[in-house]
Amino acid sequence: MSPAPEDASVHRALGLSDDEYQRIYELLERHPNHLELAMYSVMWSEHCSYKSSKIHLKRLPTQAPWVLVGPGENAGVIDVGDDIAVAIRIESHNHPSAIEPYQGAATGVGGILRDIFTMGARPIAVMDPLRFGPIDDPRSRWIAEGVISGVSGYGNSVGVPTVGGEIVFDETYKGNPLVNVLAMGVLPTERLVLGQASGVGNLAVLLGASTGRDGIGGVSVLASAGFDESSEDIDKRPSVQVGDPFEEKRLLEACLELLDQGLVSGIQDLGGAGITCATSETASRGGAGMDVDVTAIHARENNMEPFELMTSESQERMLAIIKPEDLAHVEEISARWEIQASVIGRVTGTGQLRILDGFDGDVLASLPASTLHDDAPEYKRPIAPPADLGERRAQDASQGPVDCINNLLSLLRDPAWVYSQYDHQLFLNTVVGPGNDGTLLRLRNPRNGQETGRGIALSTDGNHRWCHVDPRQGTAMVVAEAVMNIACVGAQPLAVVNCLNFGNPEHPEVMWQLAEAVDGMAEACVAFNAPVIGGNVSLYNETNAVDIAPTPVVGVIGMHPSLTTPPPSIGFPPNASLLLLGQVPDTDVSLAGSQWAWEIGGCKDGTLPTFDLQQAVRTSQFVAESVQKQQLLAIHDIAEGGLAVAAAEMAIDSGFGAQIVDHCDHVSMFNESGGRFLAVVGDELLDDFLKDAKRHDVPAIQIGRTGGTSLNFGTEIIIPVSELETAYRTELPEALGLGTVNT
């Protein structure tokens, strides 16, 4: 047992537990000073250290022959052939977006892009899975509107297209929106660089924006003399970061040019924990140490304290490790792109991260670089399923005010109001953009722009309702949905990234949800042969001690092997056969976890319909191949809102209706059994197609014909397509189109 610190209030105010303090004492074999404490506190925060989730994340499959870089680096990287690699990552910016929606979302986009070009890749796509409180809640509308403007404002200006995403409104996110952002980039495989510092004597150059007092957050307690007196200054400290897409754009171009010219041996973006994180991670990944001169950091404000400089989360900065002889060249490129470049560090062979007041000045902090992350605590937090799980699962989710026509109309929502604010076409790759199932991009060679004749498909998906009812199966269904979305554009999955948005990890039920979700994700990823190559965990998503519904969000990336013609649209053509593919709902079909049950029936529990993962694998593979062979006139997967919503979206897309036999009760119309698609096949191909399906062991039943001006379920439910379209198009513009109020 080590001696107690002089003043235990210091580390506690910084968010470090007494045990964590002990650990630091043991690692340093002395008491840490305030600067060192500040550095440990940011690096050992949940956000940076994954201390609650690490033990579970180990159960995810991460390997495949095409995986070049798995979890742990800034982004996952896969080899997609032709000497091209693809980098992909997803991250959350939930809490910042709740306070300042525009900047929260904007800096979220900026941050994830840096993760991509850190790997040497040019970012070519962003996706934004978004979740907000109810659309009739004014504050949720204000947050939604600000977030969407922020993604638009930053993404468009920085010059990376936003090619898809999600928008979900639910009570569970009231007060705690989820703003996740995914980015994907391409690079010549040989340019892949990792965030590591090596070569004693090499220089660490800080590139980009000046360092201000942004996002100093918890550490700012160090600014006030005594920790018990509340200091006005602290409140004034701007913990809100403002994004500058123009700075990011110049930084991106400059970094890619530095990489192209081979001037960089390691590079790391500055995100959470700022310079502390970037210097310690690069040093310890490279098995080296680093001397950092705080006075060399270009600062936005005067009189910044060393702990402020070391922990600031100012945006649009990167740390590059270069050889001393290349400095002039690096400075020349930086100047051309009008970005600042300051030599703030030197690589040493000691393994120590030393913070100095001038390279020859006083030592302000000295700690083994690797202890900041490798020795971060790892918690095995208590896990317990909810005590009333049995009762919850016994509930009947099919009760409620059944009115199939109006129920269907109320479940429709067109996300076009959102994505029409995003440039989704830049780089001339977008074959299938937002508004469909998966997004499909041309894959071109990043060296010379040559087409490869292949396509990259992306989809992001989450479903808090399924995951609330059953986090394990729900998460497996979420992965399946993402795979099914890309199957609709002819692609098969290569890899998965995930963002685990959960409540307070100190609640055993939340840890149970997390553990179950990880297991469900692992099962599905194994089944689809799509390893998890990266992700992010966002915990403490709660309002007034109420946790959000578990919301694992996945991004799936897949490949279309021969992209010569666009895949079929989702729209119904006239006069063809409408088929239901996939798992045939059997007797235990249930509305549990469906949008109908939550939004209309008012029951949030029950037992999910049986989900046959292997069947979903076969079906989506079959659909992807059928799309590639151009056998389908239209295709759409069945997800939120069930068969009825899927059919309505197909009708709205083309203006043609369909006559569906049976399926005219609310359970058949709105259940969300996983692994199903609606496909439209021309009469001349029908017999062959059905035989083919049978050969692939994919259930396919003809449920109706397309055409006409209405969508019919059975003989009684008849809805003019124009009425569907009005309901679909008006909801978002009416709620958000006029502006919103901050309440």
Partner: protein
């Protein structure tokens, strides 16, 4: 025959390589012209592509207009050289005064990215060589500031001189007189908000921009 096209790159420009790809796909040659250099490298025509030159800070084009390359382009245009400004490029051309008027924020105060139908209102300019008045094209738009305004007498004059090049058939942004593109008196300088380079491939949904770029290449 303008075979070599200079494509201007300001910090913040983002459509330069798309524009170059589209030109090369039509067998044209393309060169990047860096904003800080006044040398136009003997190109035969110039495109100022879309993006956010200097972040569009202050106003779109406000900082870009001071670039050395813009001085050279102004002389080039005054000598009759073909110049096309697309989106942000159109905004820059109005800022430097090669084209009249200004582009304000969209009437709906939202960024708009969508496929839009436009109609040729005049063909006596560098883009209209292979077209007829009334031809309708599907070309994507992608802007926040595309709402064209000018003084009433300027509009009257442009109409009298046949200088409205394109009009929207369904005005998306509140543009005066549905204007999507205009030209100078001589017809060698054209500015348009829609992006022809985004309409050059069947895989991407439209090929209606090809004729426009061909016309520029032939100017």
């Amino acid at each position: 025959m303008s075979q070599r096209i200079g494509v201007v790159r300001f910090p913040g420009t983002n459509c330069e390589f798309d524009t170059i790809d589209a030109i090369r796909a039509l067998d044209g040659e393309a060169e990047v012209l860096w904003h800080g250099q006044s040398d136009l490298k003997n190109v035969d025509a110039i495109v100022i592509p879309g993006g956010f030159a200097h972040g569009d800070y202050l106003r779109c084009g406000a900082i870009a207009k001071f670039s050395p390359v813009m001085d050279s382009i102004t002389s080039f245009a005054e000598d009759g050289g073909p110049v096309l400004g697309i989106c942000n490029g159109f905004q820059v051309l109005t800022e430097v005064g090669l084209l009249p008027g200004a582009l304000q924020k969209n009437a709906g105060m939202k960024f708009l990215c969508s496929m839009q139908q436009i109609e040729f209102a005049s063909t006596s300019n560098v883009l209209g060589q292979q077209a007829s008045v009334g031809d309708r094209l599907m070309i994507p738009i992608n802007h926040f500031e595309g709402n064209y305004v000018c003084a009433p007498e300027v509009l009257t004059e442009m109409e009298a001189e046949n200088r409205i090049v394109f009009r929207y058939t369904d005005n998306p942004n509140g543009s005066l007189a549905d204007i999507a593109g205009i030209c100078n008196q001589a017809g060698n300088v054209v500015g348009m908000m829609p992006h022809p380079e985004r309409a050059t491939s069947r895989l991407l949904g439209s090929t209606d921009g090809i004729g426009l770029l061909r016309s520029l290449l032939a100017a």
